[in-house]
């Protein structure tokens, strides 16, 4: 053990470790980023109003059969996007381009077979939908969004469960990342048990999750928790929300108006 080793590593594919590491780093960085919010119009909107109308817009986009409507909405969304700061716009666009491109690829046979119009329509809708939802998630504090879920008659206790899920995605994500780094550092040769290593990490993750769940439960009990929870944040409604509502209502009216044409 106290002598030097003569070791020449053999080729082995460890892409999966790197890819996993990247995936986890991505999640953690996305979650960390949230805390520095900007000062634009979109940021100051009430989360319930923002989420509610975004979902409505997504529904109407999906229902629409009219290019004029779809592109009006898309232009509106791009204008909103443009009101954000450069960094945010880049982030949102980077993430929002993936699904449309993927869809384009899948639709190629359909387009080649002559189904051009509908394919374009589908792509336009997809682009609008993705940008709309990404704008919400990139300009709102996530814990506010989970509170906004109350709109959907989700019981309060589940709002707490959602918040806990977000938190533990972060904590357990860091834990998994550490294990992945450790695995990577120890991948000095050929690992014939690749599945064993990853399933070992997932297994440790499970056991750690179980332990943390028990500890959290004890912590909650020690602070008097007995099953009831009422999510308490009250969101303010301002004039900006009023304008946002008007804009969105106009869009909805446009849908029906165009539909009648």
């Amino acid at each position: 053990m106290f002598e030097k080793d003569e070791y020449i590593p053999k080729e082995d594919k460890v892409k999966f470790i790197d890819k996993s590491i990247l995936a986890f780093l991505n999640i953690l960085s996305v979650m960390k980023r949230k805390t520095s919010l900007g000062n634009g119009y979109v940021y100051s909107l009430n989360p319930v109003v923002k989420l509610g109308f975004t979902i409505l817009i997504i529904i109407f986009l999906s229902l629409s059969r009219n290019f004029l409507f779809i592109w009006t909405v898309n232009v509106y969304l791009f204008l909103l996007l443009a009101s954000l700061n450069g960094e945010k716009i880049k982030d949102i666009l980077k993430v929002s381009i993936i699904v449309p491109i993927f869809t384009l690829v899948i639709l190629i046979p359909s387009i080649l077979a002559g189904n051009k119009l509908n394919s374009m329509m589908m792509l336009s809708k997809i682009l609008g939908t993705i940008i709309a939802i990404n704008m919400v998630s990139y300009t709102t504090r996530w814990t506010h969004l989970t509170k906004a879920l109350k709109l959907m008659h989700i019981p309060d206790i589940f709002i707490l469960v959602f918040d806990i899920t977000l938190k533990y995605i972060y904590i357990l994500g860091e834990f998994s990342l550490e294990m992945l780094y450790a695995l990577k550092l120890r991948s000095v040769g050929v690992n014939n048990k690749k599945y064993g290593s990853i399933t070992g990490i997932i297994g440790s993750l499970f056991l750690k999750s179980k332990d943390m769940a028990e500890e959290m439960y004890s912590a909650m009990e020690c602070r008097g928790f007995s099953g009831e929870y009422s999510s308490n944040i009250k969101f303010k409604y301002t004039f900006k929300d009023f304008i946002y509502c008007i804009l969105n209502i106009l869009i909805i009216v446009l849908y029906f108006y165009i539909g009648r044409m």
């Binding site: 938190k167 004890s218 912590a219 009990e221 020690c222 008097g224 009422s230």
Partner: protein, 241 residues
């Protein structure tokens, strides 16, 4: 006011505590010291009603604390209000979406109205010097900040007894000094402090009494804090220093 008599506890098949006898009076500041695995953390869990002894008894302010009794919601809530526990792992302790809500959780559960809750929360945040963290998400804070939020969220219940499991772990020197002064202040105001610690450098003047756990999971020595700390030979022999 805390009386432990002949308490033993087995965790699965491993013995965690053997025949513990201990009495702690109101207003004391007691340090629990001992090597890893001696049962300190388990003991702290026990006095907080998270685990229960296999044999022996635990009496808290004249009431015996058993698993059955704690199933009564009212009793359990009153018990947990009287004794606050700061975990070793701050991550497990914080489960609310913002620091404000974390500290407000206890008082809200107690049924206080919004104005009172707000006052309590602000007082606790000020006491721990974390007012600027009010709207942050707890999982995004540094280790020391998390520890302070954890302490604040326990103090907001205004417990009579404060139990801390290795509070100095992972804190920088300034943070340690702050915590030390805080614990002294709390003790002076009448709170009973029970604290397990490895860190002797930063806790000068905090404790009057030290209870030493042995590697055999029993209480080895129960003496004045200064006497124990100065007994170098004893400490080295028992894997404490």
């Amino acid at each position: 006011m805390i009386e432990i008599k002949n308490l033993s506890f087995k965790y699965k098949t491993n013995l965690a505590l053997k025949d513990i006898n201990l009495e702690i009076r109101e207003g004391e500041a007691v340090a629990l010291i001992g090597p890893n695995g001696s049962g300190k953390s388990t003991f702290l869990k026990l006095i907080n009603g998270i685990v229960f002894g296999d044999s022996g008894s635990y009496v808290f302010y004249g009431q015996e604390i058993t698993e059955k009794k704690l199933q009564d919601n009212k009793f359990s809530k009153l018990f947990h209000k009287s004794i606050g526990f700061v975990f070793q792992n701050s991550d497990a302790q914080l489960f609310c979406p913002s620091v404000y809500e974390e500290v407000a959780f206890g008082p809200r559960q107690m049924g206080m109205d919004d104005k009172e809750v707000d006052k309590r929360v602000r007082d606790c945040l000020k006491l721990l010097d974390i007012e600027k963290l009010k709207d942050r998400e707890p999982y995004n804070l540094s280790g020391g900040e998390k520890r302070k939020v954890a302490i604040a969220s326990v103090l907001s219940l205004n417990p009579e007894v404060l139990v801390l499991d290795e509070p100095m772990n992972g804190i920088d020197p300034k943070g340690k000094r702050f915590l030390r002064d805080l614990i002294i202040k709390l003790n002076k105001s009448g709170k009973t402090i029970i604290c397990s610690t490895h860190d002797f450098e930063y806790v000068k003047g905090v404790f009057q009494r030290a209870v030493v756990f042995s590697e055999e999971h029993t209480i080895l020595r129960d003496d004045a804090y200064d006497k124990v700390i100065e007994d170098e030979e004893f400490l080295i022999q028992n894997n404490i220093k």
